[in-house]
Amino acid sequence: MSRELLLRIWRGDASGGDLVDFVVPVEEGEVVLDAVHKTQALHAGDLAVRWNFKAGKCGSCSAEINGHPRLMCMTRLSSLPSGPVTITPLRTFPVIRDLVTDVSFNYEKARQVPAFSPRPEQPVAPFIMYQQDVERSQEFRKCIECWLCQDVCHVIRDHEENKPHYSGPRFFIRWAELDMHPNDGLDRKEALQDTQGLGYCNVTKCCTEVCPEGIKITDNAIIPMKERVVDAKYDPLVRFARRRLRRARGTASSATSQGPGHG
């Protein structure tokens, strides 16, 4: 059933802008991106919007709909409360024009992730990765890089000054994915804490709430990485056990070095 919908779309660029009202006809089953396309077709041919294929997998059409960071292609109009629908660009990133933002911050952070580094003691035979180890990181591989988690994260959304030393949730799951890989040889915990700002996250879970792929970013990546940092720096029992292990290994190696018949 067709009806008229009032859209309030932010229009402008880095020099300024404002919400502009458009009325468009919409049909049952349509999504917000359909209404934006109708706005382009009927009222504003120069309205800038980034999108690709309307299937919720390219992560291009991220915007803020009635203040919620969401994918425009996956937000049905029927799921929104009645009344005008407000659409604004992602608030955390610089605006280029209208609904299009400059998300290059994220690609800079992506370049800072140390690549997968196989353990030096890699056996000659090919490394076999078992299903339970695959599944753990598979969740993180679902990320479509829509940047909604980065947008909603208050650490950089409300504090631009934190951007140089904070990677954000999307990259915490990338660091976690690599750190949890059974054959990765790098110790990423302290770098993540010291240079990527893991400690800035206060686990308020907004990243998890907005993720269109349903990735449990906080529970399965950020908190486990915080716990790994605790292992390395703050856990009294782990430190004690490590010291004992190191001493035991030292004793064993010195016994071995005395030759056969001593160990």
Partner: protein
């Protein structure tokens, strides 16, 4: 061929979209933080009052969880004439400890809950408003999170987890002792039920926490090499998904248990005996 023109200066950093509103959310985003703050602050107020009351926390065989283990010698005075003597640590703090003995022990459960990942979310949102709700601008001019003092102390959660397990053991002992009436073993009243359920909920809260999940299996790189720990990790992960609910239920129930013991000890309520 003409060389492409090269900009002589770096482009100025682009500005964000000029949107003055703190948020454009139209839903009732204030509701959740308001309810959370109300429950949390109510608990803090009740726990503070109960901890400093220093009376009506013991009625054989029930001992309030806020006062267990009762480690000051004044606990012994509180129980003079009681035929049941528990728990075993009475008198660790001598007569010089003049204030309520609850203060000695409450630091552990309060520290455990204060540093808990779920409660962090709850009070950061509801009380500190950092942020109050997703995509709602926080009111603070600066933010360093848990990277610097004082909030870097949140990393002590693991310490409180270990101590909390010890405390759970003692509260389980109390729950068993709640079957030990002055007339002998094998009886149970409504207070026994309260103490048993309280102990079960506290174990559920501790074992479903993120630190436990990590210790059980989360710290492993190879799940495949540790099938038993992987299986346990899977079980704890399922409980962990319900950690928020368990946290609330156990928080409210521990206060209700204290209240019940208090009402029985002060004579306001007569404890119904089941057998």
């Amino acid at each position: 061929m003409t060389a492409p023109s090269v900009p002589t200066a770096a482009p100025a950093p682009r500005a964000r979209a000029a949107i003055a509103a703190r948020t454009l959310r139209t839903d009732n985003w204030r509701k959740e933080p308001t309810i959370t703050a109300a429950v949390l602050l109510s608990f803090v107020a009740y726990a503070t009052w109960a901890a400093f009351k220093n009376a009506d926390y013991y009625k054989p065989p029930y001992l309030s969880p806020f006062y267990s283990p009762c480690m000051a010698s004044i606990c012994g005075h509180a129980r003079a004439g009681a035929t049941v003597v528990h728990p075993p640590m009475v008198g660790l703090f001598g007569p010089w400890w003049a204030i309520s003995p609850a203060i000695i022990v409450l630091i552990i459960p309060l520290g455990f809950r204060f540093t808990c990942y779920y409660y962090r979310k709850a009070y950061y949102r509801s009380i500190w408003r950092s942020p109050a709700a997703c995509a709602v601008q926080e009111p603070h001019a600066r933010y360093r999170g848990e990277s610097k003092f004082p909030l870097i102390i949140q990393n002590a959660h693991r310490w409180f987890f270990y101590l909390g397990l010890l405390l759970n053991g003692i509260l389980t002992y109390d729950a068993v002792e709640a079957f030990h009436f002055p007339s002998g073993w094998g009886h149970a009243g409504f207070g026994t039920l309260m103490l048993v359920v309280n102990a079960v909920l506290l174990w559920a809260y501790s074992l479903s926490c993120h630190a436990c999940r990590h210790i059980i299996g989360g710290r492993l790189k190879h799940f495949s090499r540790h099938p038993v720990r992987f299986r346990l990790w899977g079980i704890v992960s399922k409980w962990n998904a319900r950690h928020m609910e368990i946290a609330w239920v156990s928080l409210v129930f521990v206060a209700l248990t204290d209240l019940y013991v208090r009402l029985v000890a002060s004579g306001w309520v007569t404890d119904p005996r089941f057998f």
